[in-house]
Amino acid sequence: MTTSSTPAVLVENVAKRFQRGERHDSLRDLIPALLRRAGRRGETNGVATLDRDEFWAVRDLNFQVDFGRALGIIGPNGAGKSTTLKLLTGILRPTQGEIRMRGRVASLIEVSAGFHPDLTGRENVYLQGAVMGMSRREVDSQLDSIVAFSEVEDFIDTPVKRYSSGMNARLGFSIAVHVNPDVLVIDEVLSVGDMSFQKKCVERMLAFKREGVAIVFVSHNMQAIGELCDEAIVIKGNPRFQGAVGEAVTSYLRLSGDDSAGVQGDGITVTGSQLVDPSGQIVEAAAPRQALSLQADMHFSVPLSDLTFCLVVRRATDYLTVYDGNITSQELGLGVIEAGSTVRIRFDHTAHLTRGQYLYTLGVYDQREGRHRIWVVPAAGLRIDEYRTYGGVADLDVETRVETLARV
């Protein structure tokens, strides 16, 4: 039926419709509701119709994940990320489309949901293990490893109501990673525990990937997405972008600020910002050391002077700041900018950057008021393509030469 070329996760044209507002959840309210529905039945015949009080949580979802690959899902709150995960785990069923999951699916969503506070850690391991589909024998053989990973050895026979929330989550997480899944669905749980435990979790996830587990990962932690995922989807109701992680992060940040209407600040509106090359062409990808210019058109609705223009460049995958510089309007020789005027500001620069995805952020600071009047996040995104460096961020313009000093 299946071959090894079939992906671990296959999502085809999936859409999920939800009902908004109040539900009748008692028999007392059922009768009037039934009468209403009976009166409406004749009108709805298609599958994909939308009633007045219904909405699409996600639509047009299409993606696949192969074994040994990780897909990140990013998007603003309420964009349908959790709905997508619930569809993948079968908790929700799609209104349209189809999902195919191969093998054992484990979800790292609320990893301690099955815990009972009055039971000991050990008892809860067996309970939660069973909830996640492990057999008694599996839990027996993995128990030591689960306890060791969770770092709660000393308290394993203490009721979990005495645990700190961190211990609780660590134990839950530890059970979940011992399920031995083929597909792993993760929802923002890597923020569990302290730094060292988080590191351990990320390492465990990477190990899963090496073992061939397919991973779907939802997070607001762009760094974690960058570390773990091979590609990412940006969703906001429907998929907005699908591709390399860095570009996805740029696209996601663009989503938060609506491009078409411009970015509204206090007294300043940035009507457009882009990265261009010297010939004025819009640039999305460039080679290292290419001459570039970030230009932004600003409309002033109040007269302003004594401004500082800020340019920040960050690496999209981990938010590493690679440039953060300011210039004042005095230095630029600008006096008062009158209300109603529009100015174009250009930051000419050279991208001494190595391979990766970068984000440009633009800000205007009011020196008199002592606050920022506008931040444009991101003002532009840039992908640097080169295949010579292994890591790092700065292109040091390295020229490598070899001289033979002595010959045998």
Partner: protein, 329 residues
């Protein structure tokens, strides 16, 4: 979903693992697909029509979960040792006390002498009733009580009410030990008819599981089902031959009473244990000069249809609606 076999997760050859950490391949896709090739596929589509057989199979594969959930309930009850013991003994004893009181009052009013076997019948039936009432009472809220779990992790939701029934079955087992010690002194007959007892228990358990499943599902959508159920349970004891026998209702009343699907189970227990009656034969009794037919063989079939029918209905109902659970939460 049956768990994938461990062979799928065979450890990576060392060469491959070290290769993937080589600097030149760091951003290159690691093609490890050959390592994993599970054959089972779960298709999640808008309509999932699963056969009853598949649902029962799913329950069987999740027996460890049922066991763990039931063990959780029992452990928590017995953590407070007094409470736990009281639950399995005290509740039925209260019912026995009430039943005896009713009988004594009847004796005082009618002047008919009280037979010790009648007390024995009350003792015998009190424990199954306590089991049934306990299972239904806790089971009706079993899905709503576990909503955090239900909305986060997928497993067949029917395991929740069924686990409640299993945990109450544990109390019934404790109760039966008590019965075993007492009944010989209250006129129980040692006969081959005792072999009917396990079947009666099976019918009772299946019926309880079926009703629990239906009610737990209904309670999710209509939260007042729980309260209605409690009221019905309180009244139920008057429409079920627990404190009395069906013969006391006269010829027509007895027949009417047996329409209650629980009645054949309780009367079957009484007749097989207290009268040594083979349930494949009709049984009648003389009551104030009138012959009352208190058992007919088809009652067995009637109760079985109710029991297995309600379980089938419950399983299908939960399966058809379980994708709504997360939405209603």
């Amino acid at each position: 979903m049956t768990p994938a076999e461990p062979s799928l997760a065979a450890p990576l050859p060392v060469g491959r693992a070290s290769q993937s950490s080589a600097p030149t391949l760091r951003t290159a896709p690691q093609s490890a697909a050959a390592v994993r090739d599970p054959q089972e596929v779960r298709v999640i589509g808008p309509q999932e029509r699963t056969s009853l057989f598949a649902l029962i199979h799913e329950l069987v594969t999740h027996r460890e979960l049922i066991h763990q959930l039931a063990a959780r309930d029992i452990r928590i009850r017995y953590k407070q040792a007094m409470m736990g013991f009281a639950w399995s003994i005290l509740m039925p004893l209260l019912i026995v006390g009430a039943g005896t009181l009713v009988r004594v009052v009847v004796v005082a009013m009618t002047g008919v002498a009280l037979d010790r076997t009648e007390i024995g019948a009350v003792v015998l039936k009190s424990f199954p009733w306590a089991f049934f009432a306990g299972a239904i009472g806790f089971g009706v809220g079993s899905i709503t009580a576990n909503l955090p779990l239900v909305t986060k992790i997928y497993f067949p939701r029917s395991v929740l009410p069924i686990a409640v029934v299993v945990s109450n079955l544990f109390d019934l087992a404790v109760g039966f030990v008590t019965i075993l010690l007492v009944l010989p002194f209250l006129g129980a007959k040692l006969s081959f008819a005792l072999l009917w007892v396990p079947l009666m228990v099976v019918l009772l358990v299946v019926l309880a599981a079926g009703l629990c499943t239906v009610l737990a599902c209904a309670n999710l959508f209509f939260r007042d089902v729980k309260y209605i159920t409690q009221v019905l349970l309180t009244f139920g004891i008057f429409f079920t031959p627990v404190l009395f026998n069906n013969v006391q209702f006269g010829p027509r009343g007895a027949k009417l009473l047996m329409l209650n699907p629980l009645a054949p189970v309780f009367e079957g227990l009484r007749l097989s244990v207290m009268q040594g009656h083979n349930l494949l034969a009709t049984h009648s009794q003389l009551m104030r000069g009138v012959t009352v037919v208190d058992w007919q063989p088809w009652y067995l079939l009637y109760a079985a249809v109710w029991a297995f029918g309600s379980l089938a209905l419950g399983l299908l109902l939960i399966q058809r609606t379980q994708d709504l659970f997360a939405e209603y939460a």
